[in-house]
Symmetry: D2
Subunit: 298 residues, 4 copies
């Protein structure tokens, strides 16, 4: 007899991914989005926003280590950190592993999603919401950053894809990245999740990369395969003050050791794998010239 409940994700109208369900844990329709937490056989618990898998118990470590550590390690002493989005709390978890961190400001627009994650995704946040170094701000990240006088050493943008029509519409434009850059301390670094790069690279990664490149000198793309997404996911890293060069493997290994990080996915060889881009990836990225502006988004 066949088990028979399925979660169905539609990355495009012509493709679908099905995951057999054990349980539908919780649902919230907030003013901003629809959030669901489901338990699947293949990947365990999943957070789904507006029908799109955000992270899954079995491999969220890949996504979150890939998003957080390359940038955190590249900074010699990341003390003040900004997280935009990242409601699961797993970005915080990874940030707080770095001993230099004195304060992390997390700005998320959706109080209900944060509460949902706090209640049901304890394996994700592992208590990070209770860390005294955390300042949690429920607000629009753009509005917050436009007004705060603070400066950050590392800024991590873990925001839903702008093409989805969600609340992140103004968080992928040139104007937003100008605000971000203005909030970086000297030597500061920024990183953002930057879309699906698998299925013939939906234009969105290239557009994000181009847009960031209007504000920052030579940002860098990198990517990791996330099994539960069934695709490779892209990221973009940028530095306030200088073009980003290649990161020597020795530096990564030394800092991982100094900071006593015990990671599952990321190390120097993983870094090399993520930052080396295949020829077709580079070609496709080069073909797209569009830039997102406030008026044109998405």
């Amino acid at each position: 007899m066949r088990p028979s409940e399925w979660f169905c994700e539609w990355p495009t109208p012509a493709t679908a991914h099905l995951f057999r369900l054990r349980q539908m844990v919780a649902t919230a329709r907030t003013p901003y989005q629809q959030a669901q937490i489901v338990d699947t056989d293949a990947y365990g618990r999943m957070l789904v926003i507006d029908g799109q898998i955000q992270s899954a118990a079995a491999d969220e470590y890949i996504y979150h280590e890939a998003l957080v550590h390359p940038t955190m390690l590249l900074h010699p002493a990341p003390r003040r950190i900004l997280v935009a989005g990242g409601g699961e709390g797993a970005v915080l978890r990874e940030i707080f592993r770095h001993p230099a961190v004195e304060q992390a400001v997390m700005v998320d627009i959706d109080r209900e999603v944060v509460a949902l994650c706090r209640a049901h995704l304890s394996d994700w946040h592992q208590g990070s919401f209770d860390d005294p170094r955390l300042e949690l701000v429920i607000a629009d990240a753009r509005g917050y950053l436009a007004e705060t006088p603070r400066r950050f050493d590392v800024m991590i943008m873990d925001l839903c894809d702008p093409c989805e029509g969600g609340p992140a519409r103004n968080l992928f434009t040139r104007q937003f990245y100008e605000i971000v850059r203005a909030r970086l301390a000297p030597g500061g670094l920024a990183v953002l999740q930057a879309g699906d790069v698998g299925v013939s690279m939906s234009e969105s990664h290239a557009v994000i990369f181009n847009t960031v490149g209007q504000v920052f000198a030579q940002p860098r793309s990198y990517r990791a395969f996330i099994p539960s997404y069934c695709t490779e996911w892209g990221f973009v890293m940028a530095a306030r003050d200088a073009a980003l060069g290649a990161c020597p493997p020795d530096l990564i290994s030394r800092r991982i050791a100094e900071r006593r990080l015990h990671l599952r996915f990321y190390d120097a060889e993983t870094h090399a794998a993520m930052f080396a881009l295949s020829k077709d990836f580079r070609c496709r990225r080069a073909r797209a010239s569009r830039v997102l502006l406030d008026d044109s988004a998405p």
Copy 2:
């Protein structure tokens, strides 16, 4: 109104991938397997064997370049090539780009699948079946290799996964790899497709890697993300005479230039991305100790 025919692939009983169909082109139930050719919206034409996608028009170049070129380029002058499996003819297509190639022997057990591919996958083989350098042998690859006195510079095993219960059962064992090694000319190299490495790496890649390592000194794993597979796919490369070391990027670039190869996916940076393995990949591979023997397979 929604178009409504779908091809459904079940990588596991708890997951499925759906692809909207334009057409079911052809089907063959051979003595060895069930083969289908379908046209999908997302990835164009697909060859499906026993329910598993073998390659798709939109991204077969990734799979076939990844399978063929790292090994062909590492060999200074690959003249005689053996292909086991590879019914689509796309492995041949990539081989014949290398000007040194004098002869390619392709051994495939399933005459009907080869005929089906020849008829319907002309974008794959691009006439390679008519190349005078090709010798096509319809036979069991193991039996052929056990009896032929020939030696090959490069041997490429493009065989269906052994776990599927298909005809490739005896083509993944230590005894088979001993036969392969015996058929390599001095300086010869072998490469094989080696299973899904995405979904928490089904044990099969590690088992193949371990088994190859019983016969060859220090084989190397590498992998590429294949969008239509919705996962990363693994490969194992091995050398007859010595441990495989890292391949200098300069060497790859120089040989690509010398051989005037115009590739879409593979180059020196792609090579670096494929051969750098993430920490969790290496850990999971290290945990599996099983080896496939003739008696134990699969």
Copy 3:
């Protein structure tokens, strides 16, 4: 290993029916609709228009006998017959079984669908398109009926549901039924397919019934379960000159015998089953008061 192509019908956004495919036989995108012919394991060949199953080899006899014979038998001598729609040719097949028939005029708007059916659905039409009694008119049924001076003994409307946005939009309104009534000969009868009556009776059957009742005295609903539709299907029968009363079983049996009809589904007991309506059916039908007018449709 699981066969893996499926035809998927979406009767509502919250339900779907899947049928395993053997083959996609033919597709046509005409100026009016999208037509597909597919072969399924469960029901054999199917004609699908705009994503909705029209009829299937395994049970089209139920639909077509239910549509044609109750009305044909109620008429003592049906000589001139009008069919609107009915591209498969199976309505014709059933009509021509009645020995009194001298002429059948079939009016279908979609030349390509008729050609597709003629080519691929020979088990449906069984040569009826070549019957000398047939006059095939490719035209809009409404325009044709508004202009023809002909009168018919029986008029059969086998038209796609008006709610689907297809070409039948003006063929379910009060004004259309007035045209139909005007074209009936004295003693003439009309019948029409009248929508899904299963899933809590989508309002459409009741609306059709009400609209017919604006023009004809006391039409009658009846229904039959069509397995490949996964639901009961409704029909409405109406008489030009008088209210329709119950049809005595003896009359049906006698006329079936006189006309030497060899039917698979329909007989006097089947008639009783189709015309007896459950209490909830009658209640739901009574609750809907809407009528379709040319301006209001659908």
Copy 4:
């Protein structure tokens, strides 16, 4: 954006029905079967046993009225009632509407399923489990009936299909029906759910009908379309002492009035619709000659 969890029922390996989920309410894996309660958009709450829909909020009234009332009304004064299976409590609900009922003995083998239904299907049982006339026995129905000295006026078998490999294996055999007949009081009547009669009537209905006919004189088949099952469902009614004749509509109407029954689905016209069988139904039933015996089941 598309809601994305689905319950999938597989009536056959070549067909599936999908229902969009709102919630998975509860699951129990008992010693006998797997039970699930899910909330769907199309039919509300559903009880699913071993992957097969048992009843749904939107149309369980059809199934339960069809199962209970024809037999209860045919009996002039049903005082002692036996229910085998029927864990939802909805059979009880319908039984207790008949004022003559003094005692209902419900025998169900699966304590956990009864508890699950009691907790989550209050719209089904509507408190019937607390009716003082109920005697609930957790036991194998066959063992109970073989040993009890009691006699019943009406016996209702609401048991899972024997072909499913569930606990009902010995409850569809000739020997079981002999036990049932022995437990009927003079004038007593029995009725049983008797399988899918839609998809070309899986042989099971005919086999049940034949087997009952080995023990009872001239049982009668009847059927009702159950929307959430996507098919027509069959029932078999039998009388201890005499062949079952047709039931006059007047009798049904009079007894409904006398017993002050307010029903949604069943009345005299519904009865006529259910008991009139289409020609193909009768033919298919007549073709099957198999009988279930204890040794041969299923």
